[in-house]
């Protein structure tokens, strides 16, 4: 009984909290720190020769991240292969 009474109160507190948080988010497209973004936009094209800044970051500046991402996929395929009977019958 006590639980059911407290449910609307919790919901109201959560609603007010989320509303306040949604107003306190900084506006889209205006990050507070822009040094890195400005560097990539200014130098990405001449340093990597790639028109696509996202590709320049994913495959050049943060290539290590992509490498490990690809290894995760490799590990996933290996795991499925081991678990579901890829071996000799």
């Amino acid at each position: 009984m006590e639980r059911n009474k407290s449910k609307p109160i919790v919901a109201a507190i959560l609603f007010v909290f989320l509303l306040a948080m949604s107003f306190s988010i900084h506006p889209a497209g205006k990050p507070s720190e822009t040094k890195m973004d400005d560097f990539f936009i200014a130098h990405g094209q001449e340093e990597t020769g790639s028109n696509n800044i996202v590709a320049a970051i994913v495959f050049d500046y943060r290539g290590m991240d992509t490498l490990v991402e690809a290894s995760v996929l490799f590990a996933a395929a290996t795991g499925v292969f081991i678990a579901l009977g890829g071996g000799k019958k």
Partner: protein
Amino acid sequence: MNKGLSPIVKNVAAVALVPITVFGLYVIAHGHLTPGGGFPGGAIIATMTALLLISFGTSWVKAIGKERLSMAESLGLVGFVGLAIMGIGKSFFNNFLVGQGLFFGNAVAFGPNPGWLGTAGLIPLMNMAVGLEVFAAISLIAITMFTAEVSK
């Protein structure tokens, strides 16, 4: 052994197979110019495998060979690491082909431009390696899950 679906489905799948593959290859090849790249392109080509599995059944899997797919997967990952190591003279993942005038090494104009395929140095090559790896990995997962036998 799964025999697949009706001849209508098989014919439609056979027709749809070519555009799907071409679109996936396009996404991989233009990874440095347009949104896309190795990961989404490889996944698009891997949908072709899923389509083949569902419409044609599993009779063609033996002809392709899981070992060959596994080999392609490893080759893609090893190629990716190899391309990254090739620039080790300066640093790991050093894009040494940019501006050399060689393969994919044409200088790119600064600012908005229509985009040329032969730019960006290592990035398109890495896209191709990752595309091969992702295609083979997802195909392997799909084939293994589709052909898995439930043990009693």
